[in-house]
Symmetry: C2
Subunit: 357 residues, 2 copies
């Protein structure tokens, strides 16, 4: 446990038990795992990190399973992190995923792992990123992050990937709109799964039309920006990126990301999706966008980790007692929230200036 060099050696050799134990330590928030992660850092950055997200019922897990098969056929090793956002409290993992993934159970080139989401603010995406680094250092060529849902925390997670596959499905009803509103900035490759169902072509058309509208309105697709988010800069590189994207067969002439149909159950359409993912990566690399995107991701991760670190000040018994007292003041209308936060901020800053430990 405490033998860091030996643990690092085993991780780098891809030993499944050491990988499992290390990721469990990350998942449990064990602070001692930091030493291992620090030592791994120089051995990371090689893997292609692919996020796969979409609403419940869109068949993501089956699709991921098929992606794994296709990558294996191409001679690439694959790590899978299935993030279960359902249980911030109980921390359960999705057994179903594991069962479904049994087809790869005896393949040494595949490692599959569920992650619970125990952390609060900043905890989850931080933990996912650390687990990605472990698999990266272990030498997996492709790392798939599967998340359920389209909530903000899931968006935060996929934002940590080099390439994001956004899975949609016919027949989800009006709520499908939810999926569409922000897709331009989220997805690099769009997949309409269960495309044997009625309405698949309509969903494809709707997504295309959303993407076109966004493009007309001057929104840079995530696929052509380093950021993956519409924040500072990055837009100037869009045209260079479009050229190299076209050279690699990713996207269309207008820079619109591909929208592809699949039937994960039968494997139909899976190969073109994997082609698109690979083409996206090649285009990212050639255009310099991969580096841009990783810079943004690192900045995002640092911000996240800093938030976690700063809030850890609340974990002392003294700070918790102060928090409870202030909460009482707010509920009893003696203070408003702003007052209370001021007081809390003040108290914690003072604590930092006169540390007791």
């Amino acid at each position: 446990m405490s033998d860091v060099p030996e643990t690092v050696r085993r991780i780098r050799s891809g030993d499944p038990r050491t990988l499992a134990r290390t990721i469990s330590r990350i998942d449990d928030g064990d602070p001692s795992v930091a030493q291992v992660l620090r030592a791994l850092h120089t051995h990371t950055g090689r893997a292609h990190v692919i996020g796969v997200t979409g609403p419940p019922g869109s068949g993501k897990s089956t699709l991921v399973d098929k992606f794994v098969g296709e990558f294996r056929r191409r001679g690439l090793s694959v790590g899978v992190l299935a993030v279960d956002p359902s249980s911030p409290f109980t921390g359960g993992a999705i057994l179903g995923d594991r069962i479904r993934m049994q087809s790869h159970a005896l393949d040494e080139g595949v490692y599959i792992r569920s992650l619970a989401t125990r952390g609060h603010l900043g905890g989850l995406s931080g933990a996912v990123m650390e687990a990605v680094r472990v698999l990266d250092a272990a030498g997996f060529d492709r790392i798939l992050i599967e998340t359920v849902g389209v909530g903000q925390s899931e968006v935060d997670i996929v934002r940590l990937a080099d390439t994001v596959v956004l899975v949609s499905v016919p027949g989800l009803g009006d709520d499908i709109q939810v999926l569409k509103a922000g897709i331009m900035e989220i997805g690099d490759v769009f997949v309409v799964n269960k495309s044997d169902r009625d309405g698949a072509d309509r969903v494809v058309r709707e997504i295309r039309s959303m993407l076109e509208t966004a493009l007309v309105n001057g929104v840079t697709p995530r696929a052509l920006s380093g950021a993956g988010v519409a924040d500072r800069g990055g837009h100037h590189i869009a045209s260079a990126a479009r050229e190299s994207a076209n050279a690699h067969g990713y996207g269309d002439a207008h820079g619109l990301p591909p929208v592809l149909k699949t039937t994960a159950e039968t494997g139909e359409g899976v190969m073109p999706v994997v082609d698109a993912v690979e083409a996206h990566r090649a285009a990212l690399e050639e255009s310099g966008l991969l580096r841009e995107r990783r810079l943004r991701n690192a900045a995002y991760e640092l911000r996240d980790a800093l938030g976690k670190r700063l809030l850890a000040r609340l974990d002392s018994p003294d700070a918790l007692a102060r928090l409870d007292a202030l909460a009482r003041d707010v509920v009893e209308r003696r203070r408003d929230v702003y007052d209370a936060v001021d007081a809390l901020h003040e108290a914690l800053s003072l604590e930092e200036k006169h540390p007791r430990r």
Copy 2:
């Protein structure tokens, strides 16, 4: 705009334009709205805040629409906040909701509003809570918060409610498991919507069995705890709560929350759900759990707001430049993430000790 007492007066009189403008200011992160919220604080705390959540396609919006109708029939005014978690980047609102809600458009006792989710860490639930306070001060008897999805940020939001309605639906496939893993701690009233579909009874049975298993394993249902989360304390009050819950006709003799079937389209089963929500509130109030729960919610909100405040230190140009430089170090493997966070933390703490402004 800058006339705070006048704005407060208009909000308290329920003026729809002032409500809309104030909530927009909250949604946009306009800091000047703080003055208004502070002035409103003593006028809040009266409304019953009800969270409604569930996966995309479960028909939540239609259900919320029917809840509004039923509350109105009972002579209660209703505010609705539809939280759209899809677009942290573009900030779009769900047009569909608004269209569907048109049946209440001319009713002064109803106010409906979509909220985008622009904020980062801690931003979203903070903004929702502020909007709830505005509607609370405006005198709405019931405030419904509708969120799509079951991701962590949505869980965080419903956690701010007095009563949480968790909506499920038959036929979502294996991903429905996601919904089940943590439900015991999330829901107070469970609804299986679209119950005219095949498999509705099976979903009801599955939820009941999940709840029973959790109870046997010593998990206190959210419905009987002040916390709504399995954190510090609160469990001792479960038995008193169960008694008053039974007296009010909420839940069964074992303290299990109700699991009810609805068909939102026709309105079937809506009335018993509203009854259960009202019974839950009455039981919460009588048992003292309402206060407990609000204390927890306030503590949670303060923690949230503090995180936001602390991270705001990153917003200066100097701090951003430092963040970018450190991100570059991480990507180029000159520093690991831990080193970089240490350096960032150090830099920000120093800045605080020697403020430039």
